[in-house]
């Protein structure tokens, strides 16, 4: 991690400890599982999270699974992300009179994102998430029914690779 970012983080973490976090609208219990930077910068984290959750909306998946894969992106391209989020808020204010995260309708937020989907900022976030979020083994079974690595159990011989009954017709 570049030194500059490390320094920023520790300063922010100090702010967190002094109570900045409690001022946010976040449930503290869930956010304790957030990556460090996100706990240190709840405001930025919340904005990025709203975006990530709109790109791949899965109600039941906890925030930290969105934030974890975005962490390296934020470390490497912080300016791009911050500027992108600001631009998004500007667009939201122009269209709906409020910040992006405050636009209630998911459809309206998606429509805003469709305008910027070809841009560098959006692509960076999307590309990071599409690879990172869905490559999280803890989520596979519960949310998608994907079982992942199977050689340890001797594959699926005798474990349902050919057990389908097509009874839905």
């Amino acid at each position: 991690m570049p030194l500059a970012i490390g320094t920023t983080l520790s300063r922010r973490r100090f702010l967190t400890l002094t109570g900045a976090l409690a001022a946010g609208s976040l449930a503290l219990s869930a956010s304790t599982l957030w990556p460090r930077w996100a706990r240190a910068e709840p405001e930025l984290a919340t904005r990025l999270l709203r975006l990530g959750r709109d790109i791949y909306p899965h109600e039941a998946i906890a925030d930290r699974y969105y934030l974890a894969p975005l962490t390296p992106l934020l470390e490497e391209q912080r300016e791009l992300i911050a500027a992108g989020l600001d631009d998004l808020d500007r667009r939201a204010r122009a269209a709906h009179g409020r910040d992006y995260a405050a636009v209630d309708s998911a459809a309206e937020r998606e429509a805003l994102l469709r305008q910027i989907e070809d841009g560098e900022f959006f692509q960076a976030v999307r590309n990071t998430l599409v690879v990172g979020l869905y490559d999280t083994p803890e989520l596979w079974q519960a949310h998608f029914g994907y079982e992942g690595s199977s050689w340890e159990q001797g594959g699926y011989v005798g474990r349902g690779y050919n057990d389908l009954v097509i009874d839905w017709l």
């Binding site: 998606e110 989907e117 690879v131 079982e147 050689w151 594959g155 699926y156 011989v157 349902g160 690779y161």
Partner: protein, 526 residues
């Protein structure tokens, strides 16, 4: 460890690449007592390196050196640096490959004669017929352990994914439905275990149930004492003497130091992008346009198969990820039948992807996100998929050229891989998508959707075979028309792409070429 040959030993055959073509050839030559040195750009892997993890394996073994994707297709935007999916490692793409092992059909060797001229295409008959290759198909099937008659192994049981597609296919009137043939053991065969239906065939088979030169031909060739494999050895140029016969290969070793291996003959088997690239890079005063390129055809006629992917959400879970990746094949459309509005045929091959790949590949373009996208992913376990593998017509402008200024880590010009579609490819693809959709609709799909192309895994045609030297690069033995001790031993020698996956044909050609080389050596001609 294995035998070592001196750099100035001019009695060795130098083979470039250790995949389907090069690995098979090295083994076949070694069994005949012919010495070879295999130069392989990638590392050596052990079975324990193989993980059931899609991204981890992709990053570990794929060819990720810079390549430029060019041409009028979406891939230039979605994968600007990854036109093709190929392995860089001992074993080549036979680590990634999924094991579908189909023969070409007799008419596919003479498509030009069958259909005549087609505007915009550079069609040509192969200088070899199905009948000539047939004994080598049988040999290749035994050698690789292809389920079916030649090996005596039964076909696989149908997995869930194929049951869904096949039931739909039956309802639309298809009859040629089979779980194979595949070079994946259904019972122990040739010192390899039976398939455990683990479902990660394209990441490498951790059990070794699938044929791969990584753990079959290469170690066996080495064990004979007639073959030395040098991993981390990237061939840079092929050299020749003043008479124009090749006599050495210059390569970069693991430390990046240049080495020169003398050679009695050179066999190029670097897959369809690197093989022509190497020939083009080996230009000299005698061969100013590149080695073996008096026809101007080196790097041209690049074919990838006309493909598309269709996925369907079924009313109940399918668990497509269980069992072999390409568990079943439908061949009814592989025939030649112009009434469909295109020449050439296609096979429908049931296919699965794990969630990590599926999330990325369902729509790799910028628009691949949002509520609908996520909703499909939440139905991952209800999905079934099919891949269309269709005849791609050769076009002269499709091919490999060298970038003017961009260099890779070896100091070589970066290859530009240009590929456009012939209208025939588009018509074939549309037909295939429509038929796949009908199959899934017939079996009660909730929704069916097309999935765009991803980086191609079937790469053929850039050093094609031809009867006349003016039309292609090599003759019916894979021997360069211009240089009689230079051979092409991989998929780049294909004259046409057929409707079948290429590897069985690559192996059959390599076995045949080994016989030819041995004969010519025994006659003192090489």
């Amino acid at each position: 460890m294995s035998t070592r040959f001196e750099h100035d030993d001019d009695g060795v055959v130098v083979i470039i690449g250790s995949g389907a073509g090069g690995g098979t050839l090295a083994h076949a030559l070694a069994r005949k007592g012919i010495k070879s040195v295999v130069l392989e750009a990638g590392k050596r892997y052990a079975l324990e390196d193989i993980e059931n993890d899609e991204w981890a394996m992709f990053e570990k073994i794929s060819w990720l050196d810079e390549r430029i994707t060019a041409g009028p297709r979406q891939l230039t935007e979605t994968f600007p640096n990854l036109p093709a999916w190929i392995v860089k490692g001992v074993g080549g793409s036979t680590i990634h490959w999924a094991g579908v092992a189909l023969r070409f059909q007799p008419h596919e060797f003479r498509l030009h004669s069958e259909v005549g001229e087609i505007a915009g295409a550079n069609l040509l008959d192969w200088p070899i017929s199905y009948e000539e290759l047939e004994p080598y198909y049988v040999q290749a099937e035994r050698h690789m352990g292809v389920t079916g008659e030649a090996s005596g192994m039964p076909l696989h049981d149908w997995n869930n994914n194929f049951m869904v597609l096949a039931e739909g296919a039956r309802r639309v009137g298809y009859e040629k439905l089979r779980a194979g043939p595949m070079a994946i053991n259904t019972r122990p065969y040739d010192d390899r275990p039976q398939c455990m239906q683990a479902g990660f065939c394209m990441q490498g088979c951790r059990f070794g149930a699938k044929w791969s030169t990584m753990y079959t031909d290469i170690p066996r060739a080495e064990a004979t004492g007639y073959c030395e494999v040098r991993p981390n050895a990237m061939a840079l140029t092929i050299e020749h003497d003043e008479r124009g016969r090749v006599n050495a290969v210059v390569y970069a070793d693991a430390e990046g130091k240049l080495q020169r291996q003398r050679a009695r003959a050179v066999c190029v088997a670097g897959n369809s992008i690197e093989s022509p690239r190497l020939l083009l890079n080996s230009h000299s005063a005698l061969f100013p346009d590149g080695l073996a390129n008096s026809s101007g055809q080196v790097g041209r006629n690049y074919m990838t198969h006309a493909t598309a992917c269709v996925f369907a959400e079924m009313p109940k879970p399918v668990n497509m990820h269980r069992g072999t990746t390409f568990a079943g094949i439908i061949s009814d459309e592989a025939r030649l039948d112009r009434s469909r509005g295109f020449v050439g045929g296609y096979t429908l091959e049931v296919m699965s992807l794990g969630l990590p790949f599926f999330a990325k590949f369902m729509d790799p373009a910028n628009g691949g996100w949002g509520r609908d996208y996520a909703a499909i992913l939440e139905k991952y376990d209800h999905l079934s998929g099919v891949w269309i593998c269709g005849e791609d017509l050769p076009m002269e402008e499709n091919g490999i050229t060298l970038h003017d200024s961009r260099k890779d880590q070896y100091g070589l010009p970066v290859p530009i891989v240009y590929k456009g579609d012939h209208p025939n490819d588009e018509a074939l693809r549309r037909h295939g998508q429509q038929q796949a959709r009908s199959c899934y609709d017939a079996v009660g799909a909730v929704r069916v959707f097309d999935v765009p192309d991803f980086p191609t895994s079937h790469n053929v045609g850039t050093n094609r075979m031809s009867a006349r030297p003016e039309d292609g690069v090599v003759n019916q033995w894979g021997q360069a028309h211009d240089i009689d001790n230079l051979f092409v031993s991989d998929g780049s020698q294909f004259t046409s792409s057929g409707a079948e996956n290429p590897t069985l044909t690559i192996v059959a050609l390599a076995l045949r070429q080994a016989d030819h080389i041995a004969e010519r050596m025994s006659r003192g001609e090489l």
